[in-house]
């Protein structure tokens, strides 16, 4: 069996997604010079049809919702459709925009094809989407069945199904269709009853191909895709957004859909990528790494909520996109005496709050950088996961407390050795001085630097680190203050 999943009026469905549009609706390529591409049933009832101009549509009904086609929303919906098809079989063809074929011959036969189809339809219904699902012995019959049904179709007998099909379903060219109409042929069954060779001789190869499709004997090879499944949702606003409330509302709905897909594929979110096109043409983007990858809706939502509640932008968002980088659930073995954090995602959320409160560069796990330049370090976002033992020399001396920024002081020297520090509040005669420790680096480019450092003890008991660049002296930090 082959399955065909079809989202009817795909462009309209994508544009209407996440919007609560009741009543007639139509989608146009572009509002400025728009001919209507697709309409919903309410619009058809008002006699509004594809191909109408906006003025014609508005003349039929002033309340018609005119929606602009959204590439981002169409992409997200198409990926979702492929993802659902891949949950049926690994052999999937991306037949057309909004249509997928899945080869089910290698999977065990389900107890009921109708039951399976109803299950798929229900999953799309949860997302407020209408899908038609058809199962048939050949790919082409599955497509024809999906196009011909309102919800679910299962073709067990190919010839009986084809016989009952309308000739219009073959989508023949106008001259061929007209000829058949003149002959009084309205169903495919009547067409198949005619002498095949003579029909092809009179109507051409187009009809031959159509007859081959409905014969139930041709099983064409699918153009299989091996896509990297994308977990993404997007929405383009009609107007600029002034507050975070609509963003959070949409993000939650995105996450409901995405986490459902993740859970059905037994996958977890490793990263969240939030993107927002802004009204000045720029783009805001932020990536969140999930400390303990999860598909839990609430955990993922809190991460976004924490970030957005502290976000201040000068420009206004005109759209929003959320993408999830998924991965497999992996377990990690802790060391025998390792004490793990109790709630890694809760801790990640607290770090996000702290970063929002204090600044992005103010919170992290400090890491030394391979450089001689004083006061260079990096901040890692989370504790390292590997418990490997670090072999290093034992630490020596009293740890320095660094002044950021360093304090400029006046230092008197004798034979280039500091003898007194004369600046309030740090002043006194030097009773012991160790140095100079000459440090330099980056001499190979224009970032070259050079400094001399001294450790000194004053008669007040204070122990300081002094640095000299040229003739300028600074107190870099203190070991002891008195």
């Amino acid at each position: 069996m082959f399955a065909c999943l079809l989202l009817p009026q795909f462009r309209l469905a994508a544009a209407m997604r996440w919007r609560d549009c009741a009543g007639p609706a139509a989608v146009v390529e572009n509002v400025a010079k728009g001919l209507i591409l697709e309409v919903n049933e309410a619009a058809l009832a008002k006699n509004i049809h594809p191909g109408f101009s906006l003025a014609q549509a508005m003349a039929r009904d002033m309340r018609v919702h005119i929606l602009t086609r959204s590439q981002a929303q169409e992409d997200a919906l198409h990926h979702m459709l492929i993802d659902r098809a891949l949950s049926l079989s690994p052999d999937v063809e991306e037949t057309a925009l909004g249509m997928c074929l899945a080869d089910l011959r290698k999977r065990p036969k389900p107890p009921s094809w109708h039951g399976l189809a109803d299950e798929i339809v229900a999953r799309f219904s949860n997302e407020k989407l209408r899908v038609t699902v058809a199962f048939a012995p050949t790919p082409d019959l599955a497509i024809l069945a999906a196009k011909g049904t309102a919800s679910v179709a299962v073709v067990y007998d190919a010839s009986a199904f084809a016989g009952a099909l309308s000739v219009g379903a073959l989508e023949l060219s106008a001259p061929a269709a007209e000829t058949l109409r003149d002959w009084g042929i309205t169903t495919v069954g009547q067409l198949l009853a005619l002498p095949r060779a003579e029909v092809i001789e009179r109507l051409g190869s187009e009809v031959a191909q159509a007859l081959q499709k409905v014969s139930g004997r041709s099983k064409r090879l699918l153009r299989l895709i091996r896509p990297e499944v994308k977990y993404a949702e997007a929405f383009d606003f009609e107007h600029e957004v002034e507050s975070t409330e609509p963003l959070m509302f949409l993000l939650r709905r995105f996450l409901v859909s995405l986490t459902d897909r993740l859970q059905s594929a037994h996958r977890v979110a490793r990263q969240l990528r939030l993107g927002m096109p802004l009204d000045d043409g720029t783009h805001y983007e932020r990536t969140f790494t999930i400390p303990a990858p999860t598909s839990d809706l609430e955990v993922l939502y809190r991460i976004l909520d924490t970030h957005l509640s502290a976000l201040r932008l000068e420009q206004r968002p005109v759209g929003i996109k959320l993408e999830i980088e998924a991965g497999e659930q992996t377990g990690s073995q802790l060391g025998l005496f390792e004490t793990a954090l109790r709630d890694l995602n809760g801790f990640g959320e607290t770090l996000a709050r702290l970063k929002a409160f204090l600044g992005e560069d103010s919170v992290g796990i400090p890491r030394k950088i391979d450089s001689y330049r004083p006061d260079t370090f990096a901040l890692d976002p989370m504790f390292p996961v590997d418990g490997s033992v670090i072999r290093e020399d034992p630490a020596c001396g009293i740890p320095l407390r660094r002044y950021r920024p360093a304090i400029f002081v006046h230092v008197e020297t004798n034979s280039d050795v500091p003898v007194s520090v004369r600046s309030s509040p740090l002043q006194g005669a030097v009773v012991e001085a160790v140095g100079p420790f000459r440090l330099s680096g980056d001499w190979w480019d224009d970032q070259a630097w050079h400094t001399d450092e001294w450790d000194v003890e004053l008669d007040t008991g204070a122990m300081l680190r002094l640095s000299r660049v040229g003739t300028e002296w600074k107190v870099e930090g203190a070991y002891e203050l008195c």
Binding site: L379, I390, A395, R401, E457, G477
Partner: protein, 219 residues
């Protein structure tokens, strides 16, 4: 039965009733965490969990006591949060194994630092928090209510908060440690472990604790 013992019995039953009704709010008995500093471990059995400890005195002594705590974190595999109100922590002077165990939160002033500590206590993931208020000018502006809030939050948890300050600022600290100077300039060549062992402390305690346990069990 005397009136006093009757009152005490009624109080005990009332306490048991409240604890039964609100188990999460019950005060856990403080425990002792040895951090490998002989002056502290021998004298009082280690730092107290579920309470605020304040360390004041010589800045070199305070730094060496912090070194003992971070060394203990690396050895016993637990994590420490350092809330640095004056951005004075200098990673280059610390071993990578200790840095790997430490969350560094850099704040601009005491008010931000207290708020950051509040976040981390409520988070409850880090067994040890260090709030470094040394050299911060407006430390006296931290309202006493903040310290009382920390006491209440900590007494129902296994966490320990250690406040490093130039002078006593924490109202009602369960333990107050005064660190003496850790050495002269020549100490820069001494191993830090030696400095920790030679560190002299004065320890003042409020109240008692029920029992002592090694740190590993508390995390």
């Amino acid at each position: 039965m005397t009136i006093g013992s009757e009152k005490s019995g009624r109080l005990d039953s009332l306490r048991a009733l409240v604890e039964g009704k609100f188990p999460s709010r019950s005060v856990r008995p403080g425990r002792r965490c040895r951090i490998g500093c002989r002056a502290l471990d021998d004298e009082s059995g280690g730092l107290r969990t579920g309470a605020v400890t304040e360390v004041t005195g010589s800045s070199s002594g305070v730094q060496v006591l912090l070194a003992a705590l971070l060394e203990s974190a690396a050895r016993e595999c637990f994590h420490v949060g350092l809330v640095d109100a004056s951005r004075s922590f200098y990673p280059a002077d610390w071993p990578a194994s200790q840095l790997n165990r430490m969350l560094w939160v850099m704040c601009n002033d005491a008010r931000h630092a207290v708020q950051a500590v509040d976040f981390l206590i409520r988070d409850g993931n880090l067994p040890f928090l260090v709030l470094d208020l040394q050299g911060v000018q407006e430390v006296s502006k931290v309202p006493a209510s903040s310290w009382h809030r920390f006491h209440r939050l900590l007494e129902t948890s296994d966490m320990a908060l250690v406040v490093l300050s130039s002078r006593p600022v924490v109202e009602g600290a369960a333990m107050r440690i005064v660190a003496h100077r850790a050495g002269r300039l020549a100490a820069r060549l001494s191993e830090r472990r030696t400095l920790v062992e030679q560190l002299e402390l004065q320890i003042f305690e409020r109240g008692t604790v029920e029992h002592a346990e090694p740190l590993r069990k508390t995390a």
